[in-house]
C-alpha cells in the first residue's frame, strides 16, 4: 500500500477565531489584518483586505496606505496554537494519526485510515465535514510524502487524489519559492537556472549533494519519499481547555454572556462526543491591567448541556464586578466522567423539574458554597460536637444512641442566662471529654420562662447558668 498524506494548511487561524465570535455581516465587510510585530509583516488577512490589494508579508505602512480603515490586530501565537489544537481535537473523532506540522498546519496520515473508510473520497468527505463545522479557512492537498503534501497545500492546490502522476505533475510545476528551502539556497539554485521543482528533480541526488548544501539534498529526499520523514503524532488531551480572545474589550457583565455561551457550546460538543459529564467549570477572565478573575462553577450533578451551565453562570456573575475590561476568557474543565443514564421510574407519577442535586447547585451558585448544608451527626456526648453541618450531601455514618429531649435550636456558643426561669425537667448530667482539650461537666435542665418559651439550660460546677438551646 502506498503512503498517502493529507496536509491541511490554515492561513487565517487567529483571524478566523476572532471573526467567529461576531458573525454579524459588517465585520466581514471590514478589512482585518493580523500583524506579526517582530517582523512588522502582515501574516494573516481576510478577504476584504485581500481585495484591497494587501498581501501576506507586506509591511504595516504599505498595508495602511492601501486601505485607510484597516483594522490591525497583533499576532499571538498562543491563540493560533489553541485554535489548531481545537481543530485537531475535533478531527481526532474521525481520523487517528494527526501531527502538528507547524503552528498553522496539520498533517494527517491517510493510508492506514482507508481500511475503515474504503476509499479516499469517502474519507475526505468525512474530514471535510468536520473542518467545515469549525468555520475556518483552509487549504489542503495530498501527497506521497509529508513534504509533498505540504508543498501543494501551501500553493493552495486544494485537491485530494492518490494518483501518483497527478501529484507528481503538480509538484513539478511548483516554483521553488513555496518550498521549505532557505532563501539563500533558493537564490543559489536560481543562479544556476533552477526555478521549479521539475528542474531541481532532474539533477541527480548525488550531484545535488555535491554542489549544494546538504539540506537541499535532504529536502529533495524527503519530498520524493526517498528519505523517511519522522513525524510525532498527536494524542488528544483528556480535558477541555479553550481560550477565546474577545474582538472588543467587554466591561458589561451582560455582554460577557455571549462569548461565555460560545465556550459552553464548544464544551457541550466536546463532552457530548465523548459521552462525558462534568461537575466543575473554571473560567478565567483576563482583565486589562488588572488581576485575572477566576470563576469556579460547580454542579452537584454532572452536566454537559450548555443551557444548564448558562443558568449557573448567570447566577454566579451577579455576584462579581468587573474592575477593568475583559479581553480574553479561558475555560478549563479538568475532571469529567462517563455519563450513566438516569434511572427514573416511568410510573412514579409527578416528577420534578429539577433533581435535588441540580437544586443544590443552583442555590450554591447564587448564595455561595457555605450557605447550603445538610445537618449531620457526630458520635459525641457534647451537644455542640454532636451536630455538624456538612457542605456535601453526604450519607450519615452508622446510627448510634440518640438521646431524647434535645432542643430544636442550639445557641453556638451557649450564652449566659439572663432571665428568670422555672425548671420543668432535670437535671441530666453530661460529663465527658476528659480525654481531650475541651472537657465539659454540665447539668442540663429543661425550663420555661415567663413568656412560655422552652429553654434548654445548663449549670456548670461553679454555679453559672447558661442558655444552650430552644425547644422551638
Amino acid at each position: 500500500m502506498q503512503n498517502i498524506w493529507l496536509y491541511l494548511y490554515f492561513p487565517n487561524l487567529q483571524l478566523d477565531a476572532l471573526l467567529q465570535q461576531n458573525p454579524e455581516s459588517n465585520i466581514h465587510s471590514q478589512a482585518y489584518v493580523i500583524l506579526d510585530e517582530q517582523t512588522n509583516q502582515v501574516c494573516q488577512l481576510n478577504h476584504t483586505a485581500y481585495q484591497a490589494g494587501i498581501r501576506l508579508g507586506m509591511g504595516l505602512g504599505t498595508a495602511a496606505m492601501l486601505k485607510g480603515d484597516l483594522q490591525v490586530i497583533a499576532y499571538q501565537e498562543a491563540i493560533t496554537k489553541n485554535r489548531l489544537n481545537d481543530i485537531a481535537q475535533n478531527l481526532y473523532l474521525v481520523t487517528s494519526d494527526i501531527c502538528f506540522f507547524n503552528e498553522n498546519s496539520l498533517l494527517l496520515r491517510v493510508h492506514n485510515m482507508l481500511n475503515l473508510y474504503g476509499n479516499l473520497t469517502s474519507y475526505w468527505q468525512v474530514v471535510q465535514h468536520q473542518l467545515l463545522q469549525q468555520k475556518v479557512n483552509f487549504h489542503y492537498a495530498t501527497g506521497h510524502s509529508p513534504l509533498a503534501a505540504k508543498l501543494l497545500a501551501i500553493r493552495a492546490w486544494d485537491q485530494v487524489t492518490d494518483n501518483v502522476d497527478t501529484i507528481k505533475q503538480a509538484i513539478q510545476n511548483t516554483s521553488l519559492q513555496h518550498t521549505d528551502l532557505t532563501t539563500k539556497a533558493v537564490e543559489k539554485l536560481q543562479r544556476v537556472g533552477v526555478h521549479t521543482i521539475q528542474a531541481l528533480l532532474k539533477i541527480p541526488l548525488a550531484d545535488v549533494a555535491k554542489r549544494f548544501d546538504i539540506e537541499v539534498a535532504t529536502y529533495i529526499g524527503k519530498l520524493t519519499a526517498q528519505i523517511t520523514h519522522p513525524v510525532n503524532f498527536f494524542h488528544p488531551k483528556k480535558h477541555f481547555d479553550r481560550v477565546i480572545e474577545l474582538l472588543y474589550d467587554i466591561e458589561n457583565i451582560q455582554i460577557l454572556q455571549a462569548p461565555l455561551n460560545q465556550l459552553l457550546q464548544n464544551l457541550e460538543q466536546f463532552l457530548k462526543a465523548r459521552d462525558l459529564l462534568t461537575q466543575t467549570l473554571v473560567f478565567t477572565l483576563s482583565q486589562r491591567d488588572e488581576k485575572m478573575i477566576e470563576l469556579n462553577i460547580h454542579s452537584q450533578q454532572g452536566e454537559y448541556l450548555a443551557k444548564y451551565w448558562a443558568v449557573l453562570i448567570s447566577l454566579k456573575l451577579e455576584n462579581i464586578t468587573l474592575s477593568a475590561p475583559v479581553f480574553a476568557i479561558r475555560l478549563v474543565v479538568e475532571n469529567s466522567y462517563i455519563r450513566t443514564p438516569d434511572k427514573s421510574d416511568l410510573f412514579a407519577g409527578k416528577q420534578g423539574r429539577l433533581s435535588r442535586l441540580q437544586l443544590i447547585s443552583l442555590l450554591q451558585a447564587k448564595l455561595g458554597e457555605d450557605a447550603v448544608s445538610t445537618p449531620t451527626l457526630n458520635n459525641d456526648y457534647r451537644p455542640e460536637r454532636a451536630i455538624q453541618n456538612s457542605k456535601r450531601l453526604a450519607k450519615s455514618i452508622q446510627p448510634f444512641q440518640l438521646y431524647a429531649l434535645r432542643p430544636s435550636f442550639l445557641l453556638t456558643p451557649p450564652q449566659r442566662l439572663q432571665e428568670k426561669i422555672s425548671i420543668a425537667y432535670g437535671p441530666e448530667r453530661i460529663e465527658t471529654g476528659w480525654w481531650d482539650t475541651k472537657p465539659i461537666t454540665r447539668d442540663y435542665f429543661i425550663a420555661f420562662n415567663q413568656l412560655g418559651q422552652w429553654y434548654w439550660v445548663f449549670k456548670t460546677p461553679r454555679g453559672d447558668w447558661y442558655l444552650h438551646g430552644v425547644f422551638s
Binding site: 420534578g352 447564587k366 448544608s373 445538610t374
Partner: protein, 229 residues
Amino acid sequence: MHPTISYLKNKNLLWQANHTQSSDNGQHTGFKELDNALQGGFPEYGVIDIRSQIGIGELRLLLPSILTRQQQRQTELITLIAPPMSINSEMLAEFGFTLDQVMVVQPSLNKQVLWSAEQSLKSGCCHSVVLWHVSLSVTQVKRLQLAAEKGNSLLFIIRQPQQEHISLPVTLGIKLSPSKVGINAQITKRKGSWSNAPFNIYMGAYWPELSQSEDNNVLLFPSRAYRAG
C-alpha cells in the same frame, strides 16, 4: 351546567360557597385538635403563615406532618431556610428524620431568602419548606403560592406575631401562643372557611416533659414509652 363553569371547577379555579374542603383531602397533622379545626389537616400544597414567638413549640407542631410527608415522598428534600439559630440535627434524627433528606439554607442577604424559598418550592424536589422570615408583601406571597403549586410542595412561614398589618393571600394562617400543656392556636385565615375560636393543642403525646405542670415537684419520667410517634 355551563361547560366553562364545569371546566373551571375541574381545574379547581372556581370555589362555591357550599364547597368546603373534604376531610380526606388534607394531611393529618398528628394532633387531634388541629386536625379537627382544619377539618382534616394541612393542605397538600400551598403557603401556611404561622405567627408565633420563638420557642413555644411552633416547629414541634409541624414536625409530625413534615415527617409524614417525608415518608410519603422519600426521594424529596425538606428545606429549612434562614433558621434563627443552628438546627440541632440530634433532635431531627431522634424524631425520625433521615438527615440527608434535610437541607439547611442560610443566605447571607435578606433578599436571597425569598429567592431560595421560591427556587426550592418550584423545583419539585422539596416536599416541605420551612422559612423563617420577617416581613412579606402580597406579591411575594403570591409568587410563593404559584411556586408551591408548581412544585406541589408546602411552605411554612414562621414569623413573629407583631408584624400583622395586612391580610396576606396565604392558604392557611395560624396564630400561635404559649400554653401550659402544648400550644394555643387560632386559625386566622383559611381558604373556604371561617376562622374559629382559639383552641389548645395537646402535645403531651409527643413531648410529655415539655409541659408546665401545676405542681412543679412532680417530675415526669423521660421514657420513650410515653410517646406515640
